[in-house]
Amino acid sequence: MTTSLADVASSDSALRAFLHGLPGVDRVGADQRAAMLGTRSIKTTAKAQAIDLAISMVDLTTLEGADTDGKVRAMCAKAVRPGGDAPSVAAVCVYPDLVAVAVEALKGTGVKVASVATAFPSGRTSLEVKVSDTTLAVAAGADEIDMVIDRGAFLAGHYMKVYEQIVAVKAACGSAHLKVILETGELATYDNVRRASWLAMLAGADFIKTSTGKVAPAATPPVTLIMLEAVRDFRDATGRQIGVKPAGGIRSTKDAIKNLVLVNETAGDDWLTPEWFRLGASSLLNDLLMQRQKLATGRYAGPDYFTLD
């Protein structure tokens, strides 16, 4: 990290000055750019390539109060072998108490286990609880932690508080990768999305993630675009590459491909791997599989030919 950036978190005012000194985001322009990229027409061989890439980037997710061991095991089976010769997904994403089940089910498969933590989805608890929530998930074997930021503190302008919490959770992660969920639907402005992205990256995030999936709007194309610009600029400034994970509301193959186009034409090729880009989703996978089969055979199969897990 360059010296100028090393100092930005030295005080609340320095952090504030830095975040507010980032170039603004013009909403109309950002929306327009995202919409234009949404018109890219991805067909034939490019589509086949995109579908397999998208499958390999999925963080297959279940985050319900009704989740059980059985539900998680079924989802893990699907994650490893989604259907036909389709590639495995990148990871499964569960609540901390179900991490052990997923770890057991995915042993030796290469599919990672991600766990939400830090009082997901609201983040409304003490730092102590957030850290121990994280520690438990890591101890149970989670490879990746998806934490939520304190949106209340962020909106109140207490950037240092948000920063310190991320630093603390990062420390608790140990070798596990940290994804920082900004919950952009609650940040409301694109300027805030850019500032929160930088704040998370400065504090040590390995990934920045749009949403919990529990708040609408979630991963809209302009928000993903702005976060991709942020990781691109952050690497230019520091040399450190950060991943991006849009999550929530990505349901169709079309949505997934639009996301890949955003990556391709914003951050670029280096991000087009599961290591640096993920799609947080649950129902998306079956649509990808359906389109994949349609492309291979020329026909759509009925929904009952795709497993529901």
Partner: protein
């Protein structure tokens, strides 16, 4: 590497004939001049042979328009509106056909003809249809039409310029004789077919094709009451001389050398998009193109790096491919002009840069090009290139930005990029340009008047103001 496979829009939707006649008095007729060929600039393939209207043909067209004027101007505004609404709806229904034909004949990317040109064309007809029965409330007095309008339009937005000319003329009760550009006559002739489909009374719209001589005959015809021209300042001058003293009303929409001014507090990513859209939209064949980038010296390096990175992602190639950003240059002649001026820029000492960009073997192509280290005195900062060539200049203070932006014989448009609202207003007050865009560029709307200062022309098209050019005021 994520390579997009070719995604060409189908040509089948267009029923391309081998030859086209003139559209006079509601019928397609042969022209008496020597027919000319129109080519696809992306492939140099001949698309069709098109009739040339001689001065006799133009005379017949003007007579037809004169005769139709009696009927058309006597219709209640609400009745004229019905025809215009009908035309607008047919344009929407046949949008794909129009877009494909426009891209074939002009070379512009299908994404633009589909998403910008054709929707705006329909919007113009809808907008002016709405005015047809409200002319008395437009603020121009008795709301009497002028008579026969002779209209000559350029090749950069063939159908859109047609709409800008024909929609307000018809709404006000005039009839028209329109000459499309020699290199792009096909969509105007398809529009003629749409007029027939809409049962527009014969003679209300007449389309005469041909080269400069045909246009001159339209402009000089003694029974034309109004001349409207969009094109080069050079031809505009000739037209102004022809029309002087004749009592014809005249509006001219001519060239430009617009400044796109980026301040250090601008939203950088969107400014980069705006710069790209400002000069590379339609291959820079845009009279209001932001061909001069004025960037505040303090962010020059950062902005240029971002701009160059962005230019590296532009996709140049087949105009009918849905993923193409930059299409073909419209003609060999225009390509020669762009090359000449770019070479001049280099020899005068500006630094030339283009992204790695493979040009197709056939057709007329020019890569997106940047000139840095440009001074006000360089030709590339003064002459309208009308191609995908951007000249980058710097400034230090807002006053200097205004001074440089205004230091051109043109005055069609300008762009201001800053997050500071008060500065936008301060700049807009001082920029001598018909349109000032703030944090956007090349944004068009039928409700917004468009036109130039100084050598960019006079008169306004679009909006309520656009009615004035077609009414006795």
């Amino acid at each position: 590497m994520f390579e997009y496979a070719p995604a060409p829009e189908s040509r089948d939707v267009v029923d391309l004939k081998s030859s086209y006649g003139l559209f006079i008095n509601g019928e397609f007729v042969d022209g008496s001049g020597t027919p000319f060929k129109t080519v696809n600039p992306a492939t140099e393939e001949t698309l069709a042979e098109v009739a040339t209207a001689s001065s006799d043909d133009v005379d017949r067209a003007v007579q037809a328009a004169r005769k139709a004027f009696g009927v058309w101007s006597a219709l209640p505004g609400a009745e004229r509106a019905k025809y215009l609404f009908r035309i607008a709806r047919i344009i929407q229904e046949r949008a794909r056909e129009l877009a494909v034909l426009e891209s074939l004949d002009n070379g512009k990317p299908i994404r633009e003809s589909r998403d910008v040109d054709v929707p705006l064309v329909a919007a113009h007809f809808f907008y002016y249809a709405g005015w047809a029965d409200k002319l008395e409330y437009a603020g121009f007095g008795s709301a009497k039409p002028l008579g026969v309008a002779g209209q000559v339009i350029p090749w950069n937005f063939p159908l859109l310029m047609l709409a800008w000319k024909i929609a307000p003329a018809l709404a006000c009760g005039n009839t028209v004789v329109l000459k499309p550009a020699e290199t792009t006559p096909l969509t105007a002739l398809l529009f003629a077919d749409i007029c027939r489909q809409a049962d527009l009374p014969p003679g209300v719209v007449n389309i005469v094709t041909g080269a400069g001589e045909t246009g001159a005959a339209v402009v000089a015809h003694p029974d034309v009451n109004k001349v409207a021209f969009t094109g080069s300042t050079e031809v505009g001058r000739i037209i102004a001389r022809t029309v002087a003293g004749t009592g014809k009303k005249l509006t001219l929409e001519l060239g430009g050398k617009a400044a796109n001014i980026v301040f250090d507090d601008a939203a950088v990513d969107q400014a980069v998009e705006g710069i790209v859209n400002g000069i590379f939209f339609n291959q820079g064949h845009v009279c209001c193109a932001g061909s001069r980038l004025l960037v505040q010296e303090s962010i020059q390096e950062e902005l240029l790096a971002a701009l160059k990175r962005r230019l590296g992602t532009l996709r140049l190639g087949d105009p009918l491919d849905k993923n193409t950003d930059i299409g073909a240059i419209n003609s060999a002649e225009q390509l020669a002009k762009i090359r000449r001026l770019s070479d001049l820029g280099e020899s005068e000492g500006a630094e030339r840069w283009s992204p790695a960009c493979e040009l197709p073997g056939k057709g007329f192509w020019f890569p997106p090009t940047l000139f840095t280290g440009v001074a006000q005195s360089h030709s590339v900062a003064r002459e309208e290139i009308f191609g995908p060539v951007l000249s980058v200049l710097t400034f230090r203070t807002p006053a200097e930005a205004v001074e440089k932006a205004n230091n051109t014989p043109y005055g069609l448009s300008a762009g201001v990029w800053t997050e500071k609202g008060s500065r936008i207003l301060w700049m807009a007050d001082r920029l001598r340009a018909g349109v000032v865009w703030a944090n956007t560029f090349n944004k068009f709307d039928p409700a917004s008047p468009f036109g130039g200062f100084k050598e960019s022309g006079f008169g306004r098209e679009g909006g309520r103001h656009g009615l004035e050019a077609y009414l006795e005021v």
